[in-house]
Symmetry: C2
Subunit: 410 residues, 2 copies
Amino acid sequence: MMKHVLGAQCTRCGKMWEARPDITVCPSCGGLLDIKYDYDSIRKEVSHEVMADRAEQSMWRYMEYLPVQGKGKRPKLRVGWSPFYRADHLAEVLGVKTLYVKDDGVNPTASLKDRASAMAVVKAEEAGAEIVACSSTGNAASSLAGNAAAAGFESYIFVPSRAPKGKVSQLMIFGAHVISVKSSYEDTFRLSEEAIARYGWYNRNAAINPFLMEGKKTVALEIAEQLGWKMTDYVALSVGDGCTIAGVWKGFKDLYETGMIDRLPRLISVQAEGCCPLNRAIAENCPWEPMEENTLADSIAVGVPRNAEKALNAIRESNGIVVNVSDQEILDAAKLLGRTCGVFGEPAGVAGTAGVKKSLELGLIPSDSSVVSIVTGNGLKDTPNAIRAAGEPTEIGPDMEELLAVMDRL
Amino acid sequence: MMKHVLGAQCTRCGKMWEARPDITVCPSCGGLLDIKYDYDSIRKEVSHEVMADRAEQSMWRYMEYLPVQGKGKRPKLRVGWSPFYRADHLAEVLGVKTLYVKDDGVNPTASLKDRASAMAVVKAEEAGAEIVACSSTGNAASSLAGNAAAAGFESYIFVPSRAPKGKVSQLMIFGAHVISVKSSYEDTFRLSEEAIARYGWYNRNAAINPFLMEGKKTVALEIAEQLGWKMTDYVALSVGDGCTIAGVWKGFKDLYETGMIDRLPRLISVQAEGCCPLNRAIAENCPWEPMEENTLADSIAVGVPRNAEKALNAIRESNGIVVNVSDQEILDAAKLLGRTCGVFGEPAGVAGTAGVKKSLELGLIPSDSSVVSIVTGNGLKDTPNAIRAAGEPTEIGPDMEELLAVMDRL
């Protein structure tokens, strides 16, 4: 509840501001803001027992840790409390002691981004807005469109024209006003910022709006609880703009600071070889620099990460691992997750798993580790790449002889 | 628990058989079997209070009503307890007093069929099988492939080659052996039956395996509980093979017979105008006859329904309504659900909503009704038809002038 929120602090100049629902960057220096909590006051209200008795099974289960007054009055989608699986078969294949898979593709619009968009519509209601807007490689877009439609907001969505058909079809069905920009994500983002400023729409650009990371962090809160509050050694996920890994880290830190977990995991930051500005900055210990957006994993094809500072800070603070994976390794991971876990992730969704595999192969993490791999989006959003990964089925006529011939080959 | 199961009774000759996990049709006359429960013994163990205290939030929440010993030892996907929304905005648009939407597209493989497939893998484990098989228009297939992969079974799947790419990509990613049959669903089904008999695979054809309807009925159990055990006047859903509507009716009857709900809803059976053998039989009060499979809603394009008797019985017993919708009405319903609820259904998934709309327009149900509409599958499974329903986005260059021109048009 807002009573635990101290304010919104600038990550650059350190100034603290009132956490108004429509605040974006620091009014003084333009730096990104971070929502700050009174951990002592949260600590008095939460415990493992309190959580165990809680009926709510959605991201709003963790109200003490969230910067809202309540969920608002408008109708909303049921976001969060996604499935969490112990993946013994996959662990065996990868050669790691303990592995868990968090399937955030099982969300109303089929990605982790629903957590940020659900937060956005609550804050938009608090701010008295009627129109919400964002730019996105695809998932933030479709999740905002869906959550906005449920809550009765109009939405304006900017996507690069490369966005997969699955995500675009969601936008259109949800009735968003969609602007498809024939250029990079960077150009798309810039155009959305200009338009938002001009028209005064509620801004759901995750790097700019400090509340959205607070929505995203709920995936970490759930993971910790689904682990029975016993953290694993590592948590792996794919990284694009940087908001999600920053949110995940914030979630674990919030729990640690309030005594709900007794150790923090190390983050495994997975980027695509063809687009890894953040991982390169860590590996070479230098400032990040823009890169080409050269990967089939559209959600993490972000050459100019909008939340670089928070992401780099999260990786460094957690004593994290960085690992880059090729497109082929991503496609292989999609098949592997599907075959061993029954979990179907989009390319960026399975990149985390590809990163776990590669980290083990390179000896970056020991084989007696415990690891959580977060699947950030559903494979149905990008069917062509799934077919590319796994191939086409065998076609035959409705005839037993033809079937027998196929069976002989299998 | 199996202690409440009396046996498997033939719907044709009435003989009762032991409910062995691999039983299919009546060994005596070949009729379809129905699992029978001792309602008095269930009634002693369940109550609204007992259910309110139950932590499990999946289809296995309702163990007293399920024909299993337990969930088995193999790993499994988290199926069921899907979102249930009060849809006031849509109700207003349709002109009906109260409307709820059950979004069963939010399931691990994104359709209601996960409920049957989850049951299939538990029974396959009980039966000591290693390979499971089915034929399907698509969703039963992808759900069996996913649930089997999670549980470590091999799967053989038969689909008509018309199955949408989204569903096929799921099958391939889950590592199923897929036989794509260049013919009708009817021919596909027949070939699968021959192959299953020849190779001795565990049979997950929903009409033939009496346990699968018991999995499907859990959607009705959830709806009743999510309504606070106060049933609506109507429950609407799309109908293809007939297994789902029969399962839904079984679920409501189980609850009624055990005192958990005090009245039964009337079912609204929605079929496509181009393929409505069951609704035609009801409307014309005659035996059902095969029809062409002439609709874009692939999941309900079933010209020879395999569970006709149970489905017809469910519609008649519930004093149900039958209504047929055109492909255009289905596409319109997809947009309507997306825009008013933020729910994205595949064509067959939104056909139920199209049927509610049409039932109101035709005066088949009064405007002061309360209705539940079940969305049976996720729209991401069939992106091309979503685009067909909702159109393509506006493309522009990364330029404010171009954007302003677009905004003027909107």
